[in-house]
């Protein structure tokens, strides 16, 4: 990416353990890869790490290199027309996410001049192993599990998975939860995207406590697209518009151009086939809604499209010159159109403005609460996922529908884009602390995250989790909330799974007994969530254990930030550690009433130099 890593504080010369980074293998489960993209140039790379056991499904049209050291494709049913049965990416998504994690430095990268800069992944020296699980019709559970089965055995160090299901599923009935559980058992963290079904509640489908679920936020680079009317007035819309119309074109309101079988009340929204292509040919079409690029085909030879939306927190690409205006701007344009016989407009190529409100969770990012386990907070954290420029196959359409353009870099948005940022930061942490468990890495990501502002994100922690990831702080968290397989087994027992189920899953003699059925509130999780009914008073204790990860003795003091009406206590409130690995436990108790649907509080353990922060979210369920 050309901006997000700098926005996160990871400059090109951030301290790295390069030799260790070069031995890290990132498993990217996605739509494949375009290996010839400059972001995957292997100049300067040595042979694959000695412990790598994976393979490359090479063919006449696909080769791995010393950067991409493994590639496999999984397809359990008939191949959709147009797809290629190889790890080659013809969609673009997998190439984009892989380069966001581990692309090498490429100067002067841009999408037709937009977002120009040095494109780079978060951990450029790391190796990539591609597991193609997604095709033009989706990514099946059977293929996802096959990829996990191989990747874990192949020796990947971390997995990036920007994929999810439509509806939440119980943990042991969900391919991502099962696969990531077995990865976790082998010390492999799986980073997973939260989903793009926001801003509705309960839309996160990645719910397993053993993986980080990543929400998407804006960065300070925002693409805007100016519209100039024939009367000289300009309006600022949003889009990723690589076209420059240069001249003024006639304007036409979609409400005045219904096709046969439609009337103004439907054509004004530009529903598919509702607009008469003969009337809009060569003109800029003004619509009263927004819609995806696929609808553009029904406009025939329109010169450009102006759309309207109240929500304009991310910009998309379209196959024609286009801009999304706010409704006030749209109304002004309509007034102009009714005031003149021959209204005209032009749409300029997009430019960049600085967004000082960033980072803000984007509207489409899926929201909590956790549908399966109400008292485990999801999503876990937030990373940039809006208007990210990264590598792209030259054969993949820029806007999702084919047009005349072809590019090696593209700008797209999604929690898919935020997930590989967290993957790379997790790799960065792992290079400093190779022996850390997935839970310890996840804890470092969460407890060092920068708090986000509920003023811009009304769903608070259900939008952003513990906050915006901070890679510079994440490599020095001070303390971590660690957890092992047995902790998650206790958790599963508490969730109602039987001894037989957990015993099969672990392969040992684990058992759900009266002494082993874990209360959800005692899973050593780096955040605290409590659901209560509308009439209920909160009264719940949470047991946690902190592990010191800094050498030397230290003393941490707890501080609580809580709104009125909520009493939160920590016992003990002072913890002394003697050195690396020293563990101390505490109990946090939440009591009181809540007057809002979501109440946010926080716990910070501080030794003066490290601030180990956990969100505490109390919410009314139902």
């Amino acid at each position: 990416t050309t901006r997000s890593w700098d926005f996160l504080g990871i400059s090109q010369n951030v301290p790295r353990v390069k030799q260790v980074e070069s031995n890290i293998v990132v498993g990217v489960f996605d739509s494949g890869i375009w290996p010839e993209n400059p972001s995957f140039n292997d100049d300067g790379f040595g042979p694959a790490p000695a412990n790598w056991r994976g393979t490359c499904q090479a063919s006449t049209n696909f080769r791995c290199n010393r950067k991409i050291i493994g590639a496999r494709a999984y397809r359990s049913s008939t191949l959709p027309p147009g797809d290629v049965r190889s790890p080659r990416d013809t969609d673009g998504h997998g190439t984009h996410t892989a380069s966001t994690v581990a692309g090498v430095l490429v100067s002067q990268a841009s999408l037709y001049g937009l977002g120009v800069g040095t494109a780079r992944g978060g951990v450029p020296p790391a190796r990539i192993a591609v597991y193609k699980i997604c095709w033009s019709d989706g990514c099946s559970d059977a293929d996802i599990l096959a990829a996990f089965d191989d990747a874990i055995a192949d020796g990947v160090d971390i997995i990036s998975l920007s994929v999810g299901g439509k509806v939440p599923q119980p943990y042991l009935y969900n391919s991502i939860a099962i696969g990531s559980f077995h990865a976790m058992k082998r010390g492999i963290l799986t980073s997973n995207s939260a989903g793009n079904n926001g801003p509705k509640s309960f839309t996160v489908t990645s719910l397993s406590p053993w993986l980080p679920t990543v929400a998407a936020s804006s960065s300070d680079r925002k693409f805007v697209t100016q519209v100039l009317l024939g009367n000289g007035n300009t309006y600022q819309g949003v889009s990723i518009n690589t076209f420059d119309m240069r001249n003024q074109y006639p304007l036409i309101y979609a409400g005045n151009a219904p096709s046969i079988g439609f009337n103004s009340s439907t054509s004004r929204y530009c529903y598919e086939d509702s607009v008469d292509p003969n009337l809009v040919r060569g003109k800029i079409l003004l619509c009263d809604s927004t819609f995806g690029p696929t609808v553009f085909a029904s406009f025939g030879g329109a010169a450009g499209v102006l759309m309207q939306s109240n929500t304009r927190d991310h910009a998309s690409s379209y196959p024609l010159p286009a801009s999304v205006l706010d409704p006030a701007g749209g109304n002004n344009i309509k007034r102009y159109m009714s005031s003149t016989r021959a209204p005209t407009a032009t749409i300029f190529k997009s430019t960049v403005v600085r967004d000082t409100s960033a980072p803000v969770v984007v509207s489409f990012s899926s929201r909590g609460p956790n549908y399966v386990t109400h008292d485990i907070l999801k999503p876990d954290s937030t990373a940039p996922g809006v208007e990210i420029l990264a590598a792209w196959p030259p054969v993949a359409p820029i806007s999702g529908v084919r047009d005349s353009r072809s590019a090696l870099y593209n700008i797209i948005s999604g929690t898919s884009m935020s997930c590989p940022h967290v993957t790379a930061i997790a790799v960065h942490i792992k290079t400093f602390y190779p022996s850390w468990s997935p839970a310890a890495i996840k804890s470092a990501l969460m407890t060092t995250a920068s708090p986000m502002n509920a003023r811009f994100n009304s769903d608070a922690e259900f939008a952003y989790g513990s906050g915006h990831v901070n890679p510079l702080k994440a490599v020095d968290p001070g303390l971590v909330y660690d957890a092992s397989e047995s902790d998650y087994v206790k958790f599963l027992c508490g969730e109602g799974y039987t001894t037989a189920m957990v015993r099969s899953t672990t392969g040992d003699n684990s058992a759900c007994t009266s002494g082993n059925i874990g209360r959800v509130w005692d899973l050593n999780y780096p955040s605290f969530a409590l659901s209560i009914s509308r009439s209920q008073t909160a009264n719940q204790s949470f047991r946690r254990t902190l592990t010191n990860v800094v050498s030397g003795a230290s003393t941490y003091r707890a501080s609580i930030s809580a709104p009125q009406g909520l009493s939160i206590s920590v016992n003990p409130s002072v913890l002394s550690f003697n050195g690396i690995g020293d563990q101390k436990s505490f109990t946090l108790t939440v009591r009181g009433t809540v007057s809002q649907a979501i109440v946010s509080a926080s716990l910070v353990w501080s030794d003066g130099s490290h601030n180990v922060r956990s969100p505490i979210t109390v919410y009314v369920l139902g």
């Binding site: 996605d30 739509s31 359990s76 049913s77 969609d91 998504h93 997604c134 019709d137 989706g138 990514c139 099946s140 559970d141 059977a142 996802i144 599990l145 096959a146 996990f148 089965d149 191989d150 874990i152 055995a153 920007s162 994929v163 999810g164 299901g165 439509k166 599923q169 042991l172 009935y173 969900n174 391919s175 991502i176 099962i178 696969g179 077995h182 990865a183 082998r186 995207s193 939260a194 989903g195 793009n196 999604g414 929690t415 898919s416 997930c419 037989a500 189920m501 015993r503 099969s504 899953t505 672990t506 392969g507 040992d508």
Partner: protein, 86 residues
């Protein structure tokens, strides 16, 4: 993803990997033959998961899936659904 015969792909998840991974497919096949009977077609097994955990993906009817779910050692059985890029 349902076939003409009403079968669709199910995941049969059986937990931790077997110590003898080489015989995993035989173990799975024996279980399937018991449930499906003489009509069992080996090509209905899509994947055998054995390198990192134990399980398989197989084309089954809903009734067969329910029977397998009741077998000892089976943790869960669920249809292979489509996930999506985010």
């Amino acid at each position: 993803d349902s076939n003409d015969d009403g079968r669709k792909i199910y995941i049969v998840y059986m937990g931790s990997k077997l110590e003898d991974t080489a015989s995993a497919h035989l173990y799975h096949r024996a279980m399937l033959e018991e449930v499906v009977g003489s009509t069992f077609a080996p090509e209905s097994v899509i994947y055998t998961y054995k390198r990192s955990f134990n399980g398989f993906a197989v084309k089954l009817t809903e009734e067969e899936a329910l029977k397998i779910a009741a077998k000892e050692g089976v943790v869960s059985v669920f249809p292979s659904e489509k996930n999506h890029l985010h």
